[in-house]
Amino acid sequence: MSLIVNGTSVAPPDDPRVSLLDHLREGLHLTGTKKGCNQGACGACTVLVDGERILSCLALAVQYDGRHITTVEGLAQDDALHPLQAAFIEHDGFQCGYCTPGQICSAIGMAAEVERGVPSHVTADLRADAALTREEIQERMSGNLCRCGAHNGIVAAIQATFVVEAQA
């Protein structure tokens, strides 16, 4: 049994009670992923599993045997930040920074969902592909809270990264 975390194969915890979040932080010392509410309400623990965003606090690590997990530590290529990480700096997408790893992982997962054609609660026409409007981003990112209120910068960073890309 093994999990693949940021491309490296690692052993699962011995105790099945250990959440994926605790295994990342305390077992593997990947402390980029944050523990906010630890009950699925805040999104700070968001990671990508096979490219899809999930909450690592509600995930038992043993359930993710054989799956590819990407945390915020796995996004940069050597010293080059992921474009969304750079955009968060450019657009002031954070203040204290605690929710930021979850916001960034969530937004990358969200962009893939939009690319795939997944509709949202605010998509007017379920038969058409949704555009990444401000309203769509706000709804799709509603699972990630920011206590500092940096939402305007977060939305701007997401738009700058993924809307420009989509139009290119």
């Binding site: 105790d15 099945p16 009670r17 959440s19 630890n38 009950q39 699925g40 999104g43 968001t46 899809e52 965003r53 999930i54 909450l55 509600l58 995930a59 038992l60 043993v62 359930q63 045997d65 969530s106 997962g109 969200m110 969902e113 795939r116 054609g117 997944v118 509709p119 949202s120 609660h121 998509t123 007017a124 026409d125 379920l126 038969r127 706000q138 709804e139 799709r140 509603s142 699972g143 990630n144």
Partner: protein
């Protein structure tokens, strides 16, 4: 969390064999069960992971859909046939939880999430007949803004939080179950229980029973359907009230209609009285309102939730009005 063993089932028969052992629980996406285990509200000794089983969505010969219990909520909401033929189901799922949770949660797990309120979670500080049978209910005279107004009992006033199940109730979905006694089917409308004097039992399943699929029968006029959820914030909150509805018009009259309500009862509430009142009658705002009032004739509001019958009535009138004009998004 109390200690437990974890095993992953390779196929359904194996899962049912393992799930038949005492103090076992099936694990789907874990979004409700893991949370309840962490709070020690749920204390299974054996977890049987069924999240990799029954993950397909197929057309039935009758023209409906057979949805595997392991299908993720997001996968069902984005499925082309669901979006085109049963938009109320896509809309209901997309109105629930957050994207991360919808990516994890399974269809079977959505049905099996506990009917609950905040007092149910408060293991250290509150009495709850659902958590500890016979201990009392602190919600009945407590903060009960989100609680039930229909079908509740002295023992429990919690609501079932699923959005998806409200749409499935309107669609007359059928739950396929496999247990030690073999395979059987149950109407979704009879799957969840009203609390009565046993609020600790949410569904009619026997111990060891495993949901393997949910079947949605064909319903042509479901193309004209939607789901509307009213809540305290714009996203990521439980419903105060919600309406799943499909409307079939015959000129300016109602040929057929399906209505189910969320946020008002211990189970997804099929509004059969309102449907009967509307069928064959005029599609007017007065008729919609009269039908909704009939549905809530027996409502028993609590201190903080007396707004629910009127809020649900207005929401239903608005939804049916939009469907009558064919412009409900």
């Amino acid at each position: 969390m109390t200690p437990f063993t974890y095993s992953r089932a390779g196929e359904t028969a194996e899962a049912v064999r393992m799930g038949g052992a005492a103090a076992s629980a099936y694990l789907g996406g874990g979004t409700n069960l893991v949370d309840l285990m962490r709070e020690t509200v749920a204390r299974p000794e054996r977890l049987v992971d069924v999240s990799g089983l029954s993950t397909s969505i197929t057309d039935t010969d009758a023209g409906g859909l057979l949805i595997g219990a392991g299908v993720r909520n997001t996968t069902l909401a984005e499925h082309r046939a669901v979006r085109e033929r049963f938009p109320l189901l896509s809309r209901a799922i997309l109105a629930g939880a957050s994207a991360q949770i919808r990516n994890m949660a399974t269809v079977g797990g959505n049905l099996m999430q506990r009917t609950r309120c905040t007092y149910f979670y408060d293991a250290d500080g509150s009495r709850c007949n659902k958590r500890v049978p016979g201990s009392g209910c602190d919600a009945r005279d407590g903060f009960n803004r989100i609680h039930a107004v229909l079908g509740a009992s002295d023992a429990c006033v919690a609501t079932h939080p699923s959005d998806m199940c409200v749409a499935l109730a309107a669609l007359d979905a059928v739950v396929h179950v496999e247990g030690s006694a073999g395979v059987r089917t149950l109407p979704l409308r009879e799957f969840h229980r009203l609390p009565g004097d046993r609020p600790d039992v949410d569904t009619v399943l026997a111990p060891g029973d495993l949901i393997v699929a949910v079947e949605v029968p064909p319903l042509g006029f479901a193309t004209n359907s939607t789901y509307r959820k009213v809540r305290d914030r714009a996203s990521y909150a439980f419903a105060l009230v919600s309406v799943a509805a499909a409307l079939d018009m015959d000129g300016d009259r109602v040929r057929d209609v399906r209505i189910a309500l969320g946020g008002v009862a211990h189970k997804p509430w099929r509004a059969a009285r309102a449907e009967d009142a509307l069928r064959g009658g005029p599609a007017t705002e007065q008729a919609f309102r009269a039908a909704a009032l009939m549905e809530f004739a027996d409502a028993q509001p609590l201190r903080d939730n007396a707004f629910k019958p009127e809020l649900a009535t207005r929401t239903l009138v608005s939804v049916l009005g939009a469907l009558a004009k064919g412009d409900a998004a």
